[in-house]
Amino acid sequence: MDVHWFRYASPATFYGLAGKLAPWFGWGGVLLIAVGLYWGFFQTPDLLTDQKQYYRILFVHVGAAWMSMWLYVVMVGWGLVGLAFNTRLSFMLAAATAPTGALFTFLTLWSGAFWGKTSWGTWWDWDPRMTSELLLLFLYVGYLALQSAIEDVHRRDRASALLAAVGLVLVPVIFWSINCPDPNQCSALHQQSSMREIEPNIRIAWLVTALGFWLYAVAATLLRARNLILLREGRAQWVSNLQEVRA
């Protein structure tokens, strides 16, 4: 089969594809988030051995934390593709991913604060995991600020992609801040990952909700990319010929 891999690298063709895909990802995300939360709230025990019902905060907290890191990696990936091949759409997708990544990072810190208050008795602590996650939020904000600060689109895209690529060093720091091979070398308030030991119903709810967040993030990125394409390619003839612009 002859597949035209580069056909959708053009904003004009990607615009239509994104419009078709976004509702599928969006409604798929809504469905999975609803199922994951239902499972987490009604199919799991009220008490764990050492935790009361507040462990249910983790159904949104863990998924949001995974998304905050993963979306950053995706954003850097698109930025690097743009730097390497000078493709407009890659930069647009990187820019479209950043706000959703920043929102998930904020939600990780927000839900983590409520978790911390119930579990450790404090809203915040300068623990390695929490501090590195806060730095990730600053990186997202820095990326978005740089996007707004430079008027020239090419310079803006290249500078912000470079900033994001340098900041990528933070992602393994966040990951290893609790998954340290030798716990004696990285004492932290935040507990280590317990994904493998946890009760199966809780794991299912975590994974389904996280998958729902992922589908949601793809849908939001596609919708934002469509807006960006319209903004940046607005003077092109194909935009004037669009049904929604002619209507």
Partner: protein, 59 residues
Amino acid sequence: MIQPAETLMMGGFGFYIWSAVGMTLAVLLGEVLWLRWRRQAVLREQKRWRRLAKHKGPV
């Protein structure tokens, strides 16, 4: 059987749990509404530009 009052109370941790879950859902919904609103604004701008270009003709 789901008991609404017990579900809200969550064993005395309702405030913490619903604040975390509620904010998450509110932010995600807010982002979608914001994106829809932005799209309407961008489309309005494109329509305005198209009208101007049509009136003025090719430059």
